[in-house]
């Protein structure tokens, strides 16, 4: 049976009832990073622990990807079926800003400071028909 699995392991908790982003936290200086890494960009320490970064935040900045990117972009889309997507940095509770695709894709829908929540979406299907998953953020409250 076709199934769904992360395109890349370790970016978010999966499977999970309420998935959240996974990063790491430096035990020496307290700085967070996403994705996880073994060494700290702030203090050069190598004392890192896995950290649940949560699934909510506010939009720190944004843009809209209005044309289909060239490789390495890899989805099942064609130039005809391509749908523009938002890109932004979402500021999480820990202060870290994570770069993400955004569901909203027009300037009218996107505003710095708006509340955002994580969702898991399919990037494409693999050869066996499994959905390959990644994360994106979308508006936490419906905007009218």
């Amino acid at each position: 049976m076709p199934d769904a699995k992360p395109l890349h392991e370790g970016l978010f908790s999966w499977p999970a009832l309420s998935p959240s982003l996974i990063g790491s936290r430096c035990l020496d200086c307290g700085e967070h990073t996403f994705p996880s890494q073994d060494a700290c960009r702030a203090c050069s320490g190598q004392n890192m622990a896995s950290a649940d970064l949560g699934n909510q935040g506010t939009l720190w900045t944004w843009t809209v990807q209005s044309f289909m990117p060239k490789t390495p972009y890899h989805t099942d889309e064609t130039p005809e079926t391509f749908r523009p997507y938002g890109v932004g940095y979402v500021e999480l509770a820990c202060g870290l800003k994570v770069e993400s695709r955004l569901k909203e894709n027009t300037p009218e829908e996107l505003k710095i400071g708006m509340p955002m929540k994580l969702e898991i979406i399919s990037v494409r299907k693999d050869d066996d028909g499994n959905d390959l998953l990644t994360f994106q953020f979308c508006a936490a409250e419906e905007t009218n």
Partner: protein, 380 residues
């Protein structure tokens, strides 16, 4: 020992289908040698770079196998700045008397095509559509406009100025001025930046002859002195391209640290600069770099652009040759084009785009991925 620039050479930026990137570099080098009234045999060293057109030291096959020290420099958009910085040190230290700095490139049409692994990133980042420099530029100026009250009109003004100045520059790629409406209504690339607000990859070559200041007049009657050449990389917290996450605190960019060091070393301040080249990969970059280089406070750009302060006849002319927007960006040559233009202006040879009142001190700033910045201060 002070350092002088005594030869300027350029192969026009844009598209030259009949010539390889290397050949455009050789053409620029020959032009610079002729401008300095010398020949390649006299060169004791060379620093050169190209991103996509092969090894710069292959130039010896075209210019002459003289046995000189030829060092290849690969530092992204700051390749030219780093080459000049190395030449500056070579002369300053007393190691050499005269040498060549050269950069060239020939890129495919369209946006650069980066690979995640080259940037220490996993494939998911590119596959899901986050590996585009245009997105970063859009997001950086978006936040800047929000924080500092910069309007879309100011973005248009910068593009308008670039193409107007390009129309006055014989070596520029884009030589046609564009109207406000043409710029305003161009197709959107990455909010809030549209097609005419970005520079494009291009082709071209640029070369400089540098020497000890005390022998400069042997080569050229109007030497331009390189007061300082500084290159800096990013500190933790600087908001840079291809960053899956950014820390809580946003730190000063490498432009700020390079600029401050350059002013300190040269013993001058922003108010002493008569003409400047600021990296304008897109219009937002020029706006942000005005403040990051210390020329104005964050947010003042709105008024400065409205008042024409950065026009050729203004208090601080910026990108008098149309900058990257009108010249395109052959990566290896772009930073040297900036220095070339400042030297032209300080010599008083700018023709239709000459800054009035005999400018004395000039400034160049290059910025590139993944967070590197080079600043030069020049004077006649």
């Amino acid at each position: 020992m002070d350092v002088a620039i005594v030869g300027l050479g350029m192969h026009p930026f844009g598209r030259t289908p009949s010539m390889s990137g290397l050949e455009q570099g050789a053409a620029a080098a020959r032009a610079a040698l002729a401008d300095a009234g010398t020949d390649f045999k006299r060169m004791e060293f060379a620093f050169g770079g190209s991103q996509d057109s092969g090894n710069a030291d292959s130039l010896v096959n075209l210019l002459g196998l003289t046995g000189l020290q030829f060092t290849n420099v690969a530092n992204g958009c700051a390749t030219g700045g780093s080459s000049l910085n190395a030449a500056y040190s070579a002369i300053k230290s007393g190691q050499y008397d005269v040498g060549l700095v050269v950069g060239f490139d020939k890129h495919d049409r369209g946006a650069f095509n980066p690979k995640p692994a080259d940037w220490g990133l996993d494939d998911w980042y590119g596959e899901t559509g986050l590996m585009l420099t245009t997105q970063y530029f859009g997001m950086k100026i978006q936040r800047y406009m929000h924080d500092h009250g910069i309007s879309r009109e100011t973005l248009i003004r910068v593009a308008e100025k670039a193409f107007r100045n390009g129309s006055l520059t014989p070596t520029a790629w884009r030589q046609t001025a564009l109207s406000w409406e043409e710029i305003k209504n161009a197709p959107m690339v990455s909010e809030p930046l549209n097609k005419y607000m970005f520079c494009s990859p291009a082709e071209g070559g640029c070369a400089l002859i540098v020497c000890r200041a005390d022998i400069a007049h042997e080569f050229h009657p109007k030497p331009i002195y390189l007061k300082t050449a500084v290159v800096r990389s990013r500190n933790y917290g600087s908001f840079e391209v291809f960053s899956p996450s950014q820390p809580t605190e946003v730190a000063d960019s490498p432009t700020v640290t390079a600029s401050q060091a350059a002013f300190e070393l040269a013993g001058v301040g922003p108010g002493d600069i008569d003409v400047a080249q600021l990296q304008d990969t897109e219009v937002g970059a020029e706006i942000m770099h005005m403040a990051e280089n210390g020329f104005c406070a964050h947010g003042d750009q709105e008024q400065w652009l409205a008042d024409g302060v950065t026009e050729i006849g203004g208090k601080l002319p910026v990108n008098t040759d149309g900058g990257c927007l009108a010249n395109g960006e052959p990566v290896g040559a772009s930073g040297l084009r900036q220095v070339h233009e400042i030297c032209v202006q300080l010599r008083g040879e700018g023709g239709a785009r000459q800054v009035p009142n005999e400018p004395k001190v000039g400034y160049t700033h290059v910025y590139g991925a993944p967070g590197i910045s080079g600043v030069n201060i020049l004077a006649r």
